[in-house]
């Protein structure tokens, strides 16, 4: 990526610095380099610095991109951002280095007689619109689908929802955030009746304990982890890592506690047992602000097509809940969780001590779980029983993986069941959407259709005959790609892929649309702490690249919906945001006006009377609390949060004689999700060029496997052969292997199982049974 205005020597120096920072990140968990590096960059003093959010991960760090002669030549952390205070991780620093990759998609490609032919973008959009229209005419509106992303901007998600639900009239819209935080959503909704964390990152500055539940923050949320380490060093705050694998986070924590996969459900219940048994319940809080409920049990795993489940909540009382917990004494749970009685009591004591301020963090470990909703409920139970919630330094905090999983997927609502406010099942929510969208309310169907996994099953079955994916790479990220890749290759479905780079998903497309990258368009993201972040376009994209929102608008116009999409090309981002903002008016979810977002490095909603609400549901901080009490969980009609009785149930598939190992999959610090961007950043690619399989050293000895030996990982779905890694990056427990999923050349998702949480429909990528063979 040698650019105009930056000579080769300066560029090589930047690469050398980047290589050293990446190497340092591999040696020191949470290491952060501050903006001093920029002082030494070529032309540093003359660069035009533009603000925006980072493209990678849900933390939402503020970045400043240095522009020289229309090219992005440097990135630094935004010192004005309350999220990262000028810090960035290795991915953040190097993010713009991918955009001029040699294989960048710069023009539309249309498959003709099996060959991709470069086609003018307007012609390609004609083809997309005509095909979509013809499919609806021939097979009905539920034969077309869109699959978008937690990396889509707020305007991109909004116009996709408006086109599908308001204009066409189908709920066939879902997004890849289903794969990463749908369980967090259903957890929030079932417990509090309102989505997204009640606290904010400032909790880090106050908490005495950070308990991370199945969450390798040192690699996945490195800037937040560095903020925690700073508090550890400064105030003696403690980090407790509760996981199934020893990681860099474990090594940097004060204590690492390992558990048998799936038994986090039992351990959470055991903590609640201890809290009650030792008299640590905050009785006044629970009496005033909580109800108790139970749901159905033995709820299945969704591995069969067209699986359907609806929970049936029923109220219970405290005594019934206490009785239920008798099956979860530390002594009983220790036997199958492999967590010692002492460690269970240690965790319970941290939460139970009224003098401790405790934040629980989690991400994929709890969400990608066949009982993900339950797991979220159970951690909320702990915080509700002890009253450690909605206060600075006290609270449960579900982290997101993608930069706008909250802002776009959850708030705009690019799930099949969602609308920008509320859900399609609710007549009032449909009426509001119809009013703002200016469509007849009958246009919006009242029943959800396909969640992500079921959407690709429907493609495979031939029920969906047209699908358009934007900002996502499902043929690497879906579970059980061994089924869904051949499904997408079938002639029965016309596939449109909008992306920045070629991917295994674009390889099966009939039309490939060249998308603008993050800084080549204006946009808004929403991060994990309810912070909305705006940025202006910083550089021009190459060729005929176009932002996804404008592509959707162009297709909508071509389909005859132009009146519903009256936005201008120059200003559509602002116009769409101003329209969208109407959905959230009020004290419970008010969004900041554009002029504020353009000035600030992100603003937390609810934004009320010119002020962000940092801790929701606490009357001291949240103007929406109006019950006259200290706390008000106003998402529920009676203002009370729910403590849920949720049992331990086994995983969908557990190791047996033939498939003797658990397979756990996940991410690495160098790569963003499926690697389509970060593998095109030379320094990150060189630091982590390929996927690998981690084994426990004792398992490796038994199987005669040494580091770098090739190992075949096989499940009932498929297999993948990778080099072995023993005692290197991470260390799985005995009987478990770990494989990162970023590598499209070593597709571990051919092996994974498409079981999901029946409530959230989020797949479990952390647990299936595999056999391991040296090849």
């Amino acid at each position: 990526m040698v650019q105009n205005g930056i000579d080769r020597r300066s560029f090589v120096k930047k690469m050398a610095a980047a290589a050293a920072m990446t190497a340092a990140a591999a040696m020191f968990p949470g290491i952060i380099f501050a903006s001093e590096q920029l002082e030494n960059l070529p032309n540093g003093g003359d660069l035009d610095w533009k603000k925006g959010p980072c493209r990678f991960c849900g933390v939402g760090c503020g970045i400043l991109v240095g522009i020289d002669k229309g090219k992005a030549v440097a990135v630094k952390g935004d010192p004005n951002s309350a999220v990262n205070k000028g810090l960035l991780c290795v991915k953040g620093y190097h993010q713009t280095m991918c955009i001029q990759s040699k294989d960048r998609l710069t023009h539309a490609l249309v498959k003709k007689n099996g060959t991709y032919v470069q086609t003018p973008i307007n012609e390609a959009l004609d083809i997309v619109a005509n095909k979509m229209k013809q499919t609806i005419e021939a097979h009905g509106k539920d034969a077309v689908a869109m699959y978008t992303s937690g990396q889509s901007t707020i305007p991109e998600g909004y116009v996709a929802s408006k086109l599908m639900k308001g204009a066409i009239g189908t709920n066939n819209l879902d997004c890849n955030a289903r794969l990463c935080m749908a369980s967090a959503v259903t957890g929030f909704l079932t417990t509090f009746g309102a989505d997204e964390p009640m606290g904010c990152y400032e909790d880090i500055d106050y908490a005495d304990y950070f308990i991370t539940w199945g969450n390798n923050m040192a690699e996945m949320h490195p800037v937040l982890f560095s903020r925690m380490l700073e508090q550890k060093n400064k105030r003696g705050a403690k980090i407790i890592d509760f996981a199934t694998r020893t990681t860099r986070s474990s090594m940097a924590s004060d204590k690492s506690i390992l558990f048998e996969p799936q038994t986090d459900l039992a351990v959470a219940n055991a903590i609640c047992y201890e809290i009650i048994n030792n008299g640590w319940v905050n009785k006044s809080f629970v009496e005033k602000h909580c109800n108790f409920s139970k749901g159905l049990t033995n709820i299945g795993y969704g591995t069969e097509d067209k699986f359907n489940f609806n929970d049936q909540p029923a109220g219970i009382n405290f005594e019934e809940y206490k009785k239920f917990l008798e099956d979860y004494t530390p002594e009983i749970v220790a036997k199958y969780s492999k967590v010692s009685v002492m460690d269970i009591k240690y965790l319970a004591n941290i939460y139970g001590n009224p003098n401790n301020r405790v934040v629980s963090y989690w991400c994929m470990g709890m969400n990608q779980h066949t009982r993900g909703t339950w797991m979220n409920n159970l951690v909320y139970n702990i915080h509700l029983l002890t009253g450690k919630i909605s206060q600075p330094g006290n609270g449960p905090f579900s982290l997101t993986g993608q930069p706008s999983a909250c802002g776009t997927a959850r708030e705009v609502g690019t799930f099949t069941h969602k609308l920008p406010k509320g859900v399609v099942m609710n007549p009032k929510n449909r009426e509001l959407a119809a009013k703002i969208w200016k469509v007849p309310v009958e246009n919006i169907p009242s029943k959800p259709t396909y969640h992500a996994t079921e959407m690709f099953r429907a493609v495979d079955r031939g029920d969906i005959k047209f699908i358009w994916t934007q900002v996502t790479n499902p043929l690497v990220s879906l579970p059980k790609t061994s089924r869904y890749r051949p499904g997408m290759e079938k002639d029965s479905c016309f596939v449109v892929v909008s992306d920045v780079f070629p991917t295994p998903t674009s390889d099966v497309a009939d039309v490939i649309l060249p998308a603008s990258w993050h800084i080549e368009k204006s946009g808004l993201y929403g991060n994990s702490e309810r912070r909305t972040q705006h940025w202006n376009k910083m550089v021009d994209g190459p060729g005929e690249t176009m932002d996804d929102a404008w592509m959707t608008i162009e297709v909508a116009k071509r389909m005859g919906y132009g009146e519903l999409f009256p936005y201008s090309k120059e200003n559509h981002v602002d116009e769409i945001y101003n329209e969208y903002r109407q959905f959230h008016e009020g004290e419970k979810h008010g969004m900041a006006p554009l002029e504020v977002l353009k000035k600030e490095s992100g603003v937390i909603w609810p934004y009320v009377n010119g002020k962000s609400t940092q801790w929701r549901f606490n009357a001291k901080y949240d103007p929406a609390c109006d019950n006259g009490e200290d706390f008000h969980f106003y998402g529920k009609p009676d203002g009370r949060a729910v403590i849920w009785q949720r049992p331990f149930e086994p995983a969908a598939e557990s190791p047996d004689e033939e498939y003797a190992f658990w397979l756990n999959t996940g991410r690495v610090i160098e790569h963003w999700h499926t690697g389509s961007m970060t593998r095109r950043i030379p320094v990150l690619h060189k630091a982590m060029p390929n996927a690998y399989v981690e084994l426990h050293p004792e398992d490796a000895i038994k199987l005669g496997i040494n580091n770098r030996d090739m190992v075949k990982v096989t499940s009932r779905r498929g297999s993948c052969t990778l080099p072995a890694s023993i005692n290197e990056r991470g260390l799985p427990t005995k009987g478990q292997v770990f494989v990162p999923f970023f590598d499209e050349d070593l597709l571990i998702n051919d092996v994974t199982l498409d079981a999901f949480c029946p409530i959230s429909k989020e797949p479990d990528y952390k647990k299936c049974a595999v056999k391991i063979e040296k090849v």
Partner: protein
């Protein structure tokens, strides 16, 4: 004619003083870690002789515990 990058591990509480001294060297870019006793140095020299000279100069600096080469480029 080479560009090299190094990770320098500092002695306890010496990062600040070492950083100041490193900044005085010509042909060096210096990037301190915010939260670890680590400094990254990128050297840019025009001959093997000056490269060796700078390398030895770095090794002799007070407060330096350990130095490891990460990358070397010849941008000719």
């Amino acid at each position: 004619m080479s560009i090299k990058s190094y990770i320098i591990h500092c002695e306890q509480d010496k990062k600040g003083s070492l950083f100041s001294e490193l900044q005085k060297l010509s042909n060096c870019e210096v990037i301190p870690a915010q939260n670890h006793e680590v400094i990254i140095v990128v050297t840019d020299t025009d001959s093997d002789e000056s490269d060796n000279q700078l390398y030895n100069q770095l090794l002799e600096m007070k407060g330096l515990k350990h130095m490891s080469l990460v990358s070397g480029f010849d941008p000719k």
